[in-house]
Amino acid sequence: MTKAEILKKVQAVIAEQLDVEEKQVVPTANIREDLDADSLDIFEVMNQLEDDLEVKLDPDESIVTVQNVVDYIDQTMAK
């Protein structure tokens, strides 16, 4: 899966979970501050991405922006 494809998937899941428009979910968006997510939202987003992408995700505190999520998934899938 390319990074561009991962980004599209992440944008779709975040938009649905946080009830925002996909166009707001830009790579530089801070998930907590710009998209008003709390920890439960982030857990749910990660859960959904795990299920949809069939990959085990175990993120740490370094996930701050949408791009962080994409990079993390890309790294995890490469292993």
């Binding site: 709390d38 920890s39 439960l40 857990f43 749910e44 990660m46 859960n47 175990d58 993120p59």
Partner: protein, 326 residues
């Protein structure tokens, strides 16, 4: 011999702490707490310990059922915040009640404690005259770090329970149960650790045991709650020969409103079958399910003959499911 629930009761501390009260001591707000968790207020013990709350429940249960303390066969209390390591909270309650023929002990299974205690209680019920008190009680405020806003806002104190009686009708009152433990994840939800150190030996004048406050690995517990718990509920219901649609009420541990909403959707059941009272009590751990049961019975929302799934989940990690007919 099955059990039937003769009566239910609850007891909570008189002091109510609102979200606004918490906002005075923590960097938080009513809006944040309410929207994230569903909690508006919780009861916090000031001058009552776990045994006091449990004793009040026991007194009410006996009075409501017109059963004398001497008739009680066993008292089982589920708690993770006992008054003491020893004696058991249940022993203290036995003494105060004058339940001189009852044996008594505590069960430690965190938020699954009440459902585990019901499982144990069933084994003691062999005759219609076997009366067993099963109570879940907590003073979680004893183990909270009141400077940690991520956990301090979630919990509350309280106790509730049931008086069980043997019933001669076969399988009346009880359809099935499932108890699960995932010990390899035990580090993900902890409270009250007592370490062994060099200083334990020969420590003169040691007056307290070190302990750590409640802590939880959020993502892992969220996954556990929204994946394994609904799966376990479905498996238990099917194993009992029922379908999810036949269940009238799902009384699940009152951890968080959004979690419960998610569980309902995972099970494809209407949210109306998942009553909640966490708005007014927070997470009361082992007291959570019986507190909800007692309120739902008192308000008439749970009626005799209703099929209820009681599901506790939490520290252990544990899941406890009892499928009963009220």
């Amino acid at each position: 011999m099955a059990y039937r629930i003769m009566t239910t009761a609850s007891a909570v501390p008189h002091k109510i702490v609102t979200n606004d009260d918490l906002a005075k001591i923590l960097e938080t707000s009513n809006d944040w707490i309410e929207s994230r968790t569903g909690i508006i207020e919780r009861h916090i013990a000031v001058d009552e310990n776990t045994s006091d709350l449990c004793y009040r429940v026991a007194e009410k249960l006996l009075a409501q059922a017109n059963v004398a303390p001497e008739q009680i066969k066993a008292i089982i209390i589920a708690t993770m915040t006992p008054d003491y390591y020893t004696p058991a909270t249940a022993a203290i309650v036995q003494g105060k009640l004058g339940a001189t023929h009852a044996f008594a002990f505590d069960i430690s299974a965190a938020c699954s404690g009440f459902t585990y205690a019901l499982s144990v209680a069933r084994g003691y019920i062999q005759l219609p005259t076997d009366y067993v008190l099963v109570i879940g009680g907590e003073v979680t405020s004893k183990v909270l770090d009141w400077s940690d806003r991520s956990s301090a806002v979630l919990f509350g104190d309280g106790a509730a329970g049931v008086l069980l009686q043997g019933t001669p009708e076969k399988a009346d009152g009880w359809y099935g149960e499932q108890l699960l433990t995932i010990g390899r994840q035990s580090e993900q939800l902890t409270s009250g650790y007592t370490p062994v150190t060099q200083a334990n030996f020969g420590q003169v004048g040691q007056t307290h045991i070190q302990s750590t406050f409640f802590q939880m690995a959020g993502q892992a517990i969220y996954q556990f709650s929204t994946r394994q718990v609904p799966r376990a509920i479905e498996a238990a219901v099917l194993a009992a020969g029922l379908s999810l649609d036949q269940v009238d009420h799902f009384l699940v541990h009152q951890a968080n409103a959004r979690l419960i909403t998610k569980m309902a959707s995972q099970l494809n059941q209407p949210l109306t079958k998942f009553p909640m009272n966490l708005q007014h009590y927070g997470n009361t751990s082992a007291a959570s399910i019986p507190l909800l049961l007692a309120e739902q019975v008192a308000s008439g929302k749970i009626k005799r003959g209703d099929c209820c799934v009681l599901c506790g989940f939490g520290g252990g990690l544990t899941i406890g499911i009892q499928i009963i007919q009220y």
